[in-house]
Symmetry: C2
Subunit: 330 residues, 2 copies
């Protein structure tokens, strides 16, 4: 079963829970601001990852619905706060929350979504009558990932001032910023599905490596993707000075005039022409290709964790997802 088929089959139920969790919110401005990016779409890969991991250990997807929705809300919360910090004007092809409602309401909309994450987990745990140990473990998994998300974004902020970061530092940052949440999606699903501790750990590692591969591809698309498909201007990562894997590798490889060209656009309000010149330089020097190679390596590590699970639609989804995250154009 292809990634998009699985998403088409499973995500409508998640959509329903997402809307229900937020529909009664007062005041109306807070409701609209917190629902804005939820409504704007997104691929819903994270909640489907949770449902598939629940199924792959023998559970029913229906038993993990609120948690799947919770993890999409956790992702959305982090996007809203991230956009404030980066002063981003666009996300998912629409104006960002702080651009429409102002920064104070955007901070609160993020906080409100964050609070709903844990309310949704507790609804899920009560509904299926989970025991105390598993319930506490579910909350521990998700709260730990939330904390790591903040750590990853703080590192991202701090590394963006550095010119000498290593590939290890980059991987540490994205494993916190993106890997931790996907690990939580996978392991929470496995926990809810009744997986053994070893299955929960293996699927957690699958999610973490998947997340790192996903982020590297995200960084690449931010350089060489199409504006219409990405929903945000291409090259903005360069102008914002973001330390993507491509930038990390380029800072270590480029010398002389080429390095000066890179530094001329990195974290500066550079013109479209200059940015395009640097992008084509990064492609020509094989640096983009090297980043793709790293993404493939993490995707393969993710796939290796899937060995031994019985064949099922959910397993095919997880296998294909490992390819999808590095092949996607959007």
């Amino acid at each position: 079963m292809s990634v998009l088929e699985y998403v088409a089959k499973r995500s409508p139920a998640v959509e329903g829970v997402l809307r229900r969790l937020l529909s009664g919110t007062e005041p109306g401005e807070l409701r609209e601001a917190s629902l804005h990016l939820v409504k704007a779409g997104g691929k819903r890969l994270r909640p489907c990852l949770t449902l598939a991991c629940c199924e792959v250990v023998g559970g029913r997807a229906e038993g993990a619905l609120e948690t799947a929705a919770a993890l999409e809300l956790l992702h959305t919360f982090s996007l809203i706060h991230d956009d404030i910090m980066d002063h981003s004007p666009l996300r998912r092809g629409v104006r960002t929350v702080h651009r429409i409602w102002g920064e104070p309401m955007a901070i609160l909309a993020g906080d409100a979504l964050f609070a709903k994450v844990f309310e949704a987990l507790s609804l899920n745990a009560s509904r299926i009558g989970m025991d105390g140990r598993r319930t506490a473990e579910l909350f521990r998994l998700v709260s730990r990932a939330s904390f790591e998300l903040s750590q990853g974004q703080a590192l991202d902020l701090l590394l963006s001032r550095r010119l000498n970061l290593t590939e290890e530092e980059y991987v540490r940052m994205v494993s916190l910023k993106t890997g931790a949440l996907m690990r939580a999606c996978a392991s929470a699903g496995a926990l809810l599905g009744g997986g053994t501790p070893s299955q929960v750990r293996r699927l957690g590692r699958y999610g973490e490596n998947l997340g790192i591969a996903f982020q590297i591809q995200d960084d690449i698309l931010g350089l060489v993707g199409e504006k219409e498909e990405m929903g945000k201007p291409v090259g903005s990562d360069l102008r914002e000075g973001k330390r993507t894997l491509v930038v990390c590798l380029a800072l270590r490889r480029l010398r002389g005039e080429e390095r000066r060209k890179l530094l001329g656009v990195l974290g500066r309000p550079a013109g479209k022409g200059e940015v395009e010149e640097v992008v084509s330089l990064l492609v020509r020097r094989g640096i983009v290709e090297e980043a793709r190679k790293r993404a493939r390596e993490f995707s393969e590590r993710a796939r290796r964790e899937l060995g031994g699970f019985p064949r099922s639609e959910a397993l095919s989804f997880l296998e294909e997802l490992a390819d999808f995250v590095i092949e996607r154009r959007v």
Copy 2:
């Protein structure tokens, strides 16, 4: 036992947990930013409320330590984000987090504390081996309060543009902004102490009414308190246009020249002299006294919920706390 004696006896153990929860955080900037207001002090009334409610239903305070610390972190998280939204320069007598580390790191420091809240709850639940139903209920109580906190702050933001708010709207706003967290402190403590559902609800109502009384007194101190004791400039609430109970009552009572004077400072960069004149007008017209009367009513409602609990140190603390929150000078 007086409020301060109980706090002196119980809060050192909470301090220890607070530091332990955050001490290992990387990167260091995130650790320092998130610990900044925790270290700056605060009265620690909220965690002590949790411990006392645990004791008053027959539990041991030690069994609720991580939850008590978690609720202090939840309070601190909201202060950090609140200060960003209000552009406040000072809090607890020290510079605010965003003034020292910048807004992006302050947003993340708040988010990181928020995540730790739920990690701490899950540590607590695991340590004492709570069953699934109570564990899910603990998370539900705290996540609901967190959500209401965001709702209250959003209402605060929206009401600050209105000139015709009713006392009911004010009470609704502070019961969300301040009452919900104190309700969660009390009911989580009672839940951890093994309280019956009826005890958990009664102590929850105690906490909510206590919180409303506390907020009204906070509003009054913001007008007529001493700068040194408050740790922030007196009258700043007026200049920021905050809809405190005093302002709410004044907007309904004052007419003609007196109303014009109030509107001349409300939400405006008014001079010290003008602000002082308005404050003395509010005192002279009995509006501050009327707000004090309302605070006493909520404090009495809180006290009434304590009837029927057996005499103990913890019960005396809760009784005296109901007076303390409306008599405090700081």
